[in-house]
Symmetry: C2
Subunit: 269 residues, 2 copies
């Protein structure tokens, strides 16, 4: 039961080829995998979709659309939506992008994120793909994502139908927020929780801070409390473990899958 | 006029001895310096106080009290208050500390911060020293400061008299917060702005993330907008530039003072 809710995000096993990841997920009897666009395109989107279908492994999310400060954002995000559709993935996670080069206008960048999502809604709706705005930890606010809190993500989603625009609640990004419990409840009441991801927080952070996450249980986040909170808010979808860390990437994929599943069962489920 | 409002926080010129820093500040005709306890104690608190008086250099803040998760926090913070009193410093900045070792209870740690500050209020009041709760960037939430937003700092300050407990608004720590402008206005209305510090945000962050700040103008923060916001909220005190960066520390103190002052005049004043 618990195992069937667990999904392994491919970023956790960065060097595991897509076909081996899918086969590993099927062998382990887990609930699905989250895929990333670069690796999936390199393997072949149609091929990955067919293999996942054959193996009976759901693709729980596709990561990522967004980066709305880049010149080609509109076409690129339409392609991402199409890929999610091809994969049969219900959720496209949006990492919304940082400040444009040379800009100090974070308010403007945030407004642009909202507008850009609005422009994508018709295509997402037609494709049956839900866009999930992911607030990223504020340490990424300038270079990766100007959406920094769950409350802000919900404000940005608000103008659009909940079936087309939701949020991604990732423990790593929101655990520090004094308002997070209230905002999770709000997210549920507004029917916006599109996906729930779990990773743990450890220090010291590495240079560049991207690869600083830990597997569930190795850090300081009250992970089970978060899972209980999204459940209480009405979320019934998968729990994706998504960890970026050089040490984790250095280990074999099947071993990391087993470790992530153990951490999930002991600290999240 | 503007120069007289500028204060150089000693953390910006980490290797500059206290007496040279004070003499440099006097020579530059700036409004004051912010001192750190370790270096000031090593030099001698009474001696530093006498030299600052002789040179006519106000000590705008003493950094730092806090770290309330450490066993000896009460006595240590009383000593910090006494030192601020000896230095004639109106403000003791509190870096409130992270999670206790092995703990995941961030709510409990936050409650403890509020309780601890309450226990210090009588001594601070008797010494004529104002405690300034400094929200630190959420990337420090587990290891340095569980107080992560200005709104949270104001909530913690609320039970205590504004003349004894205020907040430190540091651009580096709060720039990313979607609610920061509203909370600065609130801080003014509640008479809580004890000090205002300016540093700029750059990426990539270095390993450990502590030494990643930039001098005013070198990063992405709308610094003048922050200075105007605290002014509009009724703050009339000094503007301290406080930057931690290995490259800045490697340069001579007088040169860094001049650079910080230039950055302040061009981007903050």
């Amino acid at each position: 039961m618990s195992r069937a809710r667990f999904s392994l995000n491919a970023a956790t096993t960065k060097r595991w080829p897509v076909d081996e990841l899918l086969a590993g997920a099927a062998a382990a009897g887990i609930g699905g995998v989250g895929l990333w666009r670069e690796e999936t395109r390199a393997y072949g989107v149609e091929k990955a979709a067919a293999l996942a279908r054959d193996l009976g492994v759901p693709i729980t999310t596709l990561c990522r659309g967004g980066f709305f400060q880049e010149p080609g954002w509109y076409d690129e995000n339409r392609r991402a939506i199409d890929e999610a559709h091809t994969l049969g993935t219900p959720v496209l996670v949006l990492v919304c992008g940082g400040l444009p080069d040379g800009s100090r206008d974070v308010d403007g960048a945030r407004r642009h994120v909202g507008d850009a999502i609005g422009e994508l809604v018709p295509h997402a709706r037609a494709a049956g793909v839900r866009l999930a705005i992911e607030p990223l930890h504020p340490m990424f606010a300038s270079d990766r994502c100007v959406v920094s809190t769950l409350g802000q993500a919900l404000d940005l989603a608000r103008p659009y139908p909940a079936e087309s625009v939701g949020v991604c609640v990732d423990t790593y990004h929101v655990w520090w927020d004094p308002e997070v419990w209230e905002q999770i409840a709000r997210a549920g009441a507004e029917h916006r929780i599109a996906t729930f991801q779990a990773a743990d927080w450890i220090t010291p952070l590495p240079e560049g801070v991207l690869l600083g996450r830990a597997l569930p249980g190795d850090g300081v986040i009250e992970l089970r409390r978060f899972r209980e909170a999204v459940d209480a808010a009405g979320y019934t979808g998968p729990v994706e473990v998504e960890v970026f860390h050089a040490d984790v990437w250095a280990r074999p994929g099947a071993q990391v899958l087993a470790e992530a599943l153990d951490g999930y069962l002991a600290h999240v489920a």
